[in-house]
Symmetry: C3
Subunit: 145 residues, 3 copies
Amino acid sequence: MDSAVFACFAFYGSLLILKMYALAFITGQQRLRKKAFTNPEDAMRHGGLMYHRTDPDVERTRRAHRNDMENIYAFLFLGAVYSLTEPNLFIANVHFLVFFVARVVHSVAYMFAMKAPTRSLAYTIGQIPCVSIALQILVHAVAHW
Amino acid sequence: MDSAVFACFAFYGSLLILKMYALAFITGQQRLRKKAFTNPEDAMRHGGLMYHRTDPDVERTRRAHRNDMENIYAFLFLGAVYSLTEPNLFIANVHFLVFFVARVVHSVAYMFAMKAPTRSLAYTIGQIPCVSIALQILVHAVAHW
Amino acid sequence: MDSAVFACFAFYGSLLILKMYALAFITGQQRLRKKAFTNPEDAMRHGGLMYHRTDPDVERTRRAHRNDMENIYAFLFLGAVYSLTEPNLFIANVHFLVFFVARVVHSVAYMFAMKAPTRSLAYTIGQIPCVSIALQILVHAVAHW
């Protein structure tokens, strides 16, 4: 934590986790508002088994959340290891910031069903720093083996 | 690992991963017992393509597993970074223990389809230490930038 | 990163993340080629709402990707903590290599729908080093509490 790069990574990483928690919260609110429960026991508590059903808005939020798991969790590993390779603070910050902004735009584009290819573009831009970090780790790891 | 806080985190983290492996094992056993395979090649091996089908019990276990991915993986990042901020051992232990117990209760409530809101309550209680840790990391990161 | 064990772990971990990115890329290519989009806004951009549909190949790749999330993310936590327990380099390398090869075989077996139980066997073999690492962490953590 004494490392500025790691503090920077921990900052963006924690914000992205809170963003994911927000999607989980929205899913829960949508289930209650649209009365669409994936578990019979939840439907029973909220009016009956006819509410044991799917809803397009709930499914959309769940897709956004799954996409976050596919990408943000990978970033948390890559960013943590990258921080240990003593990268330049400015360059590391740019990597983290691009990913952070891209993922926030991705979530917003997903939730508001914005015109394609907004969401895909945000996804692709977010991948660039991740692949860059992965390659830098590989080079670094081979050198330290 | 010399840090008692990190040893404590590693202990609960590893147990939670083993808990997730248990859900994966249960999914596999349910697929064999209920003869419900998501891949045609698996159905072919176990009696024929009519067993290429879904099953409510299998889907329930998969939902429990996915919810673990949404929450336990986030905790593994948060807990690891938090351990590096030199928190008080007792307070850290309480954070980890509350999350651990809440997630075990969540899985049990899910698998036995316990009366709502048992499962949701366990989920919400497990979120409290996670959000607390995320906020503490943010404060710490800003101070060390 | 000065630790050879950690460099070794970071190497395999980054390759596995790149492998997961490859599955995400394949999913996207399959959606475009098979014209099967999960979001209406994507279907609209690629010909119309009739392409807002599912496709067995896309779903297969998504299952392979989800299985990776269930297993590779768990390994990233376990491997990182294990590296901090100062294990023997050769033994650690064997653990990481077995998992790495097993997961590559798992993905290949999944994508080509290879005859059962090829995929399940790869999955099971990959679990062995993970459970071994988890147990070693638990022993180590208890000793350092």
